[in-house]
Symmetry: C2
């Protein structure tokens, strides 16, 4: 048994707290070398890691190689964030006694919150796992990280953790900066541990809600940054359907089966006009999928059986025979049927299925969108002459990223990315992908009338590091 | 009975949701005129409002006049925030297909979260009540506001609400942008109402925790921005105590009795060296205080009786006779006694009392600070030659604002202010005072490959409004 015991967990969190005190004295440039060291070490071990991943996850070698590259590019992007310096939100207000109320000398910046618990996801064994975005963004701003491994790729998690620990040690990070724990109970204990200051989670609604509840019911509740589920609605406007139905069908087929449909951004609910060309052209792609875990497989089959039990939902499967694995599925239904079976039809089914919903009026379409749960993404396909204003407004209320004439399954890691949305897409108003993901693991601190020697160098008048700052209300770059 | 019924609440939230859809189409400049209109109307009605406040709260006319000025200055400061534009965090990433993963055109900005519930505080009947900082910051970024009135100043709340509603209507804000509700049950219903997207609260730990729990246990949890309690530790270093003991005693006496000690930033726990000059010089100021509400009075007396029951805590009262009201109290104890009675001695007692705790070594002082609950502020008094590094590091871990040679009871409203801290000071990593308070009521949205006509003007290439933006990673002012 490899489960982390309660005693081991105490020791791990204790060492992380000690590391935190040391990390508070480090510079951003030092932490950037830690991230680079981790990225280099992962790149060097790519072949070995991908091999482990293929064996444990059934994802393809090509996909996993790409994911390693994504993961190390992500670590390196955060070194740019550190160099640029805006992430500190450094703000200097000089004394202004005539103001109402009088203003003393006040200087504010963000500092790391403390030790962060990261719950790894099953579906991105690199980019949302041990050395993924949550770990990278927490470490970048100076938070030690304790990762709860996903049991779906335990061996890969251990090997990755060992590489990360080695790389951090070589780069001079204090002992305790990073650790891996395993086992369900260790996760439950971790989110409730007094030494943990924030938690990040990517996974299912049920698992995420349980951990969210534990975080909120602590004697001292901590922020829980969860990404729990997303149906990712797509609206195909009539002219686009008419002119580009076949092309859209091909794009949708590729998107909803990418990674066997095991993406949080999979398009799960596609609104098409009546007599849709897209709907006629869409056939579920062939091929047999083995899902990440037994539990995901059984949830998928349960989801399909709930859908097929509804009068007015027709399932089209790529194969009738499913003995060798799971085949892709397209469900066809109408907005009237959806409205009578809202919970089943608008719930995420993780895996290679998408639901086509035909609408016959804008009014019913907008009302149905308005009642959807929150999503990470929402997409509209339209020809330039189509008026999409009300559809975009309705989708913007329900999602964090709005795509135009694209498919949501690619998630770029950049300055403008937002990967989040109203509940249950995420539990917070911050992203889990992109440079602003660091804001989850920072809290402000203000210094009032501090002597320069007591101030962090980022807040001293000299601005030795040359970071962007707001001085007396004006942003100075 | 003036309690808002469940049916009325539904109507109010429904109108607020309708207003939200309209507000989403307004410009920042329009919303700035709303805030200015409210500020002007409150200034015009100052005498009438102050009169109501004196009658209901027992706070002095002078104090309340100052608070109105603070409140209207705060509303006007948010118009500067709107004009300046950084609050949108506008970010433009142009297409970059060679990136790993490939980057589409991505543009991100913050948008209002939806209808915000604001729970008014008792102790600032203007600045943290109906037209206070929570309301101003939510409205500034485009969120309709439903305020739950504090029963301690019900008449003043109604009159303020009526002035706010009139001013908003005159300035062209949609009906439903602002509303007041009353009654305990209305508050409980409000935080659970499906139409509410976020809540802000300033008040007691017990009340705040109850509402926090309701917000977290919704089917769709919403962010709850609570400010719940703070002991505000002060450390007086030996040389400062020796050289400036009398002056510090006078400063502390004024600070802990300001507003009858009913400030969330009242210095409640003051660490002084053994044989402290400050402790010898400090006598509780005379005068009789009438606290804000019956419930605050009885909590205060209960807190004192818990303190006085401890062997090793000596209470010094300004008067022995308390028939006419409450007199200020100084409690004297040692760090050893504190460690044996941690919960009682380190809990906030709202009202005119402060606890002096003598320490005899740095080690015990640092250990005691490290175990304190989170506070809004922490203060150090030292002479320039004293080494305060380890004390500042310990205090920084436990508070959101660190003061040097000052007293925490003044809270400037400015760009660099932070009014927040680890639990229970606040429940979030955002401030409730100062310009960045708006971030509580915003969520990001990203547009991927959007045609310019579908983008908000703030994200179009032209940048017509000239707001600061991050373009391809570079901050452009």
């Amino acid at each position: 048994l490899t489960d982390t015991s309660s005693r081991e967990l105490d020791q791990i969190v204790g060492r992380a707290r000690e590391a935190f005190a040391v990390i508070l004295t480090t510079t951003a440039a030092q932490r950037a070398t830690w991230l680079t060291s981790v990225a280099d070490a992962l790149d060097d071990a790519r072949n070995e890691l991908v091999e482990l991943g293929v064996g444990e996850t059934h994802l393809t070698r090509l996909r996993l190689e790409g994911e390693v590259a994504r993961t190390t590019a992500q670590l390196r992007l955060f070194t740019e964030v550190l160099r640029e310096g805006s992430y500190l939100e450094a703000t200097v207000d000089h004394r202004w006694p005539e103001m109402v109320p009088p203003r003393p000398d006040l200087r504010r910046m963000l500092r790391p919150v403390g030790v962060v618990a990261v719950f790894a996801a099953s579906n991105f064994p690199f980019a949302f796992s041990v050395a993924g975005g949550d770990m990278a963004s927490a470490l970048a701003v100076g938070c030690p990280v304790v990762v709860k491994a996903h049991p779906g790729h335990a061996e890969l998690s251990r090997r990755t953790a060992s590489i990360v620990e080695g790389a951090l040690a070589r780069a001079g990070a204090p002992v305790g900066t990073f650790a891996l724990v395993e086992g369900h109970q260790a996760g439950v204990d971790l989110v409730q541990h007094p030494g943990i200051s924030a938690a990040a989670f990517t996974g299912s609604l049920a698992g995420g809600r349980a951990l969210f509840n534990l975080a909120a019911s602590r004697p001292d509740p901590i922020p829980f940054f969860g990404e729990l589920g997303s149906i990712n609605p797509v609206v195909v406007m009539p002219a686009a359907d008419r002119e580009r139905g076949e092309e859209l069908a091909a794009g949708l087929a590729a998107s909803f089966t990418l990674g066997a449909g095991q993406f949080c951004t999979k398009p799960g609910l596609v609104f098409v006009p009546a007599q849709s060309h897209l709907a006629s052209a869409l056939t579920p792609p062939g091929g047999v999928h083995i899902l990440l875990t037994e539990s995901i497989s059984s949830s998928f089959l349960r989801g399909l059986s709930h859908l097929s039990a509804i009068d007015g939902v027709d399932l089209v499967r790529a194969h009738s025979d499913e003995q060798e694995g799971i085949s892709a599925v397209v469900a066809h239904t109408t907005i009237e049927v959806l409205e009578e079976n809202r919970e089943v039809i608008t719930s995420e089914v993780f895996g290679p299925v998408t639901v086509l919903v035909s609408y016959s009026s804008d009014t019913e379409l907008l009302a149905t969108i308005a009642a959807l749960d929150g999503s990470l993404t929402a997409t509209v396909h339209a020809l330039p002459e189509e008026d999409i204003r009300s559809v975009v407004a309705a989708l913007s209320d329900r999602a964090g990223r709005i795509l135009f004439d694209g498919w949501p399954t690619g998630v770029a890691v950049s300055w403008a990315q937002h990967h989040g949305g109203p509940w249950p897409a995420t539990t917070s108003q911050h992203t889990s992908v992109g440079t602003t993901a660091v804001r989850r693991f920072q809290r402000p601190i203000a210094y009032q009338d501090a002597p320069p020697s007591a101030l962090p160098i980022e807040l001293r008048d000299e601005n030795e590091l040359g970071i962007p700052r707001r001085v007396d209300g004006t942003l100075v770059v």
